[in-house]
Symmetry: C2
Subunit: 227 residues, 2 copies
Amino acid sequence: MKLNKVTKARPRRRYEDACGAAHALDLLGERWALLVVRELMFGPKRFSDLRADLPGISANVLTQRLEGLEAAGILVRRRLPPPASAQVYELTSWGYESEPIFQALGRWAARSPKHDPRLPLSASSLILSFRTMIDPAKAKGAGGTIGLKFGNETFRLRLSGGKVQARRGAINDADLILEGSPPVIAAAIYGGQPLATLEAQGLVRIMGDRDLASRFVTLFPLPPKAA
Amino acid sequence: MKLNKVTKARPRRRYEDACGAAHALDLLGERWALLVVRELMFGPKRFSDLRADLPGISANVLTQRLEGLEAAGILVRRRLPPPASAQVYELTSWGYESEPIFQALGRWAARSPKHDPRLPLSASSLILSFRTMIDPAKAKGAGGTIGLKFGNETFRLRLSGGKVQARRGAINDADLILEGSPPVIAAAIYGGQPLATLEAQGLVRIMGDRDLASRFVTLFPLPPKAA
DNA sequence: CTGTATCCGTGTTGATACTG
DNA sequence: CAGTATCAACACGGATACAG
């Protein structure tokens, strides 16, 4: 039993720079930190959910990042009410306000010549990409509630006014439900794979308003590559 | 003389993730990379300028970052015409398009309870902050060309339509010239220090349209802290 | 003067194993 | 399930030496 846990008062590596961007990097510029925030962007998750959704992160690094982000006021750890006595990590409202950072990064990276869309894609990343890439002009007339189902995780999207809102949660009231895996849905929307083909291959299930589905997949145009 | 430059085929640490934000971090998520890009945002610089403007970076790390950013197509190295046979690093047009990333980071960090505005501030950071924080409504009616002079580095700002354009370069045609150090100008604009006081203390020189100066310093409101 | 290469002490990261 | 412990590999930052 080690009691001499000196903890070293962490002289964490910081940029000594008043620039806002530099300060932001002090707070969430460490490896994995932004991706942890991304995974929490549509609602709280448990430690093991985060580990599962961030393949490659190791337990000790995840622990450290959660500590750091909590200390910075970006997330809080909550204990769920007695029945499910689990712990979850949830962004603070300031934490949720970091979304434009992901959108700026994503929009810029979409033009990267080296971007490989065939790598693994998490559900949160996909939903975030919808909010980033939606074309307000094209989506102007479109409206409705869309449920996305990935395994047993569901997201409820509301399309209106040229924007998408999104949140993890129930999709009972959805006009349309799309079921599949994030990469397959991405192939339909960004990769030009016809939904009908994917449905015939059993990779996607479409329930409800199929016209809405046909339209939905056209609302997210990709910019030209920069190369 | 070492010829066996094996170069190690750089197994750089990457996220294996199709998410655009993750890819962006693969390209410029390493320590210092974003700050190097920031310093180049208003025009090319030489190696030693970068070193001087990024206190804390070491020469070998700067070399590595420049190599990485060049390989990624974010910047190019150019050799200046014979008279001044110096090398400069310049963002590609895609590199320049990363500016919204800094704006998102800066806007978010401006609300951080832990942000310390008294740390050193580079000229590029300050100019970038103008483009980030300008209030289009307040700036709607303001117009003019403003020169900022920091030592022997000058920036030319054009104010119009509620926006600011900025570029390093000549300021002969400016309606107003402000001379000082970046932290002092920041104190005037973000710290509520009256320009007149700073001028009386000899920390700022104001040449030209003083009404424009008075108005200019009010165009960049800070958001409330998140705490 | 403008970079580049190498050594070196230290801290960070990541894989595995392990504990409550 | 939610982390900790340990350890090896790597990245960082400083110094110094070198090259055009």
